[in-house]
């Protein structure tokens, strides 16, 4: 192969990298410039210091972690419970559940928030049933739980539980049935079999599904935006508010840099756990 030929091949091979550099790396470089630029010229940590000094950032970080951890823990419990039921009880509709859960993931997440508004919102279905059952006045002034912490958690659990169910179901598929029969034949109670035989086999799947769930719930934005939650500000919501409502691009960029660092760190951990988990 000639040198000119090799050079042209290298050029062709680098085209997608250059494009990605322009549309992805360049924007993030400018985002960093925006966050580190001083108003009078030059660079410094001024914007970061101002952000970190205020309560807003700490509250948003705390809210993000609290929502993501609560939602992920609930997804893990609900997802493994449903997966175990599908595997060991095979209730009518279990197959349909497998399919329904899959269709769900082709949905945008914010539609769950909209659906839940009709179900549990201030004038939603459940509330109307509740008030008419108790004979309360039809117009209830108090706000539903939906527009707060638990509403966001409920929506995220609804949307992200399938992300846990799938790996757990896959792990349950490969457990040896004979092993379970031997264990129960030896007089082990169902709960004991679950704890001592099934659970250890599920740990890698739970770690992988849980970390993916945690990453996605930390980055979730559409659900909180569409739900119209006012008193729960997560990091993505804070970035949106700073940029779109306050036009404070330096502050928004500084928060975004922190958020990206957090997510990439978590993603790195997730990839590591995937590598350790047997497929």
């Amino acid at each position: 192969m000639g040198r000119a030929h090799r050079l042209s091949r290298a050029l062709v091979a680098s085209v997608p990298l250059v494009v990605l550099g322009v549309i992805f790396l360049y924007p993030f470089a400018l985002l960093a410039v925006e966050a580190f630029a001083r108003p009078g010229g030059g660079y410094g940590f001024g914007t970061f210091a101002a952000i970190l000094a205020g309560h807003a950032f700490r509250d948003a970080l705390f809210a993000t972690l609290r929502i993501a951890l609560t939602a992920t823990a609930t997804c893990l419990v609900l997802g493994s419970a449903l997966a175990l039921l599908i595997r060991f009880v095979a209730f009518p509709g279990a197959r349909a559940l497998g399919r329904l859960v899959d269709v769900y993931l082709a949905f945008p997440s914010f539609l769950v928030a909209l659906s839940l508004t009709f179900l549990y919102g201030n004038s939603g279905l459940v509330r109307s049933l509740w008030t008419s059952a108790l004979g309360l006045p039809a117009v209830d002034a108090s706000r539903s739980f939906l527009y707060g912490f638990w509403g966001v958690v409920l929506a995220e659990v609804t949307y992200y539980t399938p992300f846990v169910m799938r790996p757990v179901l896959a792990a349950l598929e490969v457990i040896d049935r004979a092993q379970l029969e031997v264990a129960s034949g030896l007089g082990e109670r169902p709960w004991g079999v679950l704890r001592r035989v099934v659970f250890p086999e599920l740990v890698p799947a739970l770690i992988a599904g849980g970390s993916l769930c945690l990453l996605l719930t930390m980055n979730e934005f559409g659900i909180i935006l569409v739900m119209g939650v006012k008193d729960v500000i997560t990091l993505p919501m804070m970035i949106y508010g700073k940029a779109i409502d306050e036009f404070d691009y330096p502050a928004a960029s500084a928060v975004a840099i922190c958020n990206v660092a957090l997510s990439l760190g978590l993603n790195f951990t997730y990839r590591q756990s995937l590598e350790r988990a047997p497929r």
């Binding site: 039921l85 060991f88 329904l100 269709v103 539609l111 004038s123 940029a243 779109i244």
Partner: protein
Amino acid sequence: MSELIHSRGARRLLAGAGMIVTAIVFGLPLLTLILASIAGEWTRALPSTLTVAHLRAALGGAQRAALWHSLATGLVATIVALVLGAWGALASRRYPAPVRRGIDALFLMPVAIPSVSIGLALLVAFSHPPLLLNGTVVLVVITHVVLITAYAYTSAQAGIARLPPSVEEMAGSLGAAPSRVLVRVTLPLLLPHLRAAAALGLALSMGELGATIMIYPPGWITAPVEIFSLTDRGSLFAGAAVSVWLLATTFAALRLLDRRRSPRRVALERRRSGA
């Protein structure tokens, strides 16, 4: 199926619990959304009248435009992302392993980053010269390309890993030029994987909200942004109607793209790509 629970009563109880939880957590929200899109008056627990007015209204004016914008953005962004992803995956295999890992990381990174931050970065970067794209449709397409290229890249990589060994070398040694090997041998073999990526990319693009809301120009409002602004103004039923049409359009586009590829398969691909 009954290795674990032998008592029939206990099995029935658990089966019932599974069905009820499934219905409440997954079935009810979807049904409610569809019901809301056809609800006329909804002041009690259930709508007292049903109407197709909202669904019909969503097929005209701004809402119809929004659906069209989403479909058009999705199609163009998907095609660009496919070219970029497949090209990147084909090129990266020529590099030594450490370089390839770096390229993998670059292509996969956008999946892990909150979409709002991606939107903000693109907004900040393309509001300055030399690349002044703020307020243009091009920026919307670029944003969606950034968000979905990772899936095209992983799908193409999966396809490349399953290429019959040395089939390309064989074609080359028979005298076919590299470009001919690419067009006649490699790409046809990758086609099923690229189709999968196209379906997934289209679904994700058409439902994208977080990054789009940071950068959309007033003349190119996408369906998710329209749904948000409708519900934010309190037009919940109109929002539900646009949502139902958005889902219908997405599913129809997926069907057309690949008859064998149902939304279910798309979701499977999505999970396999790890996002």
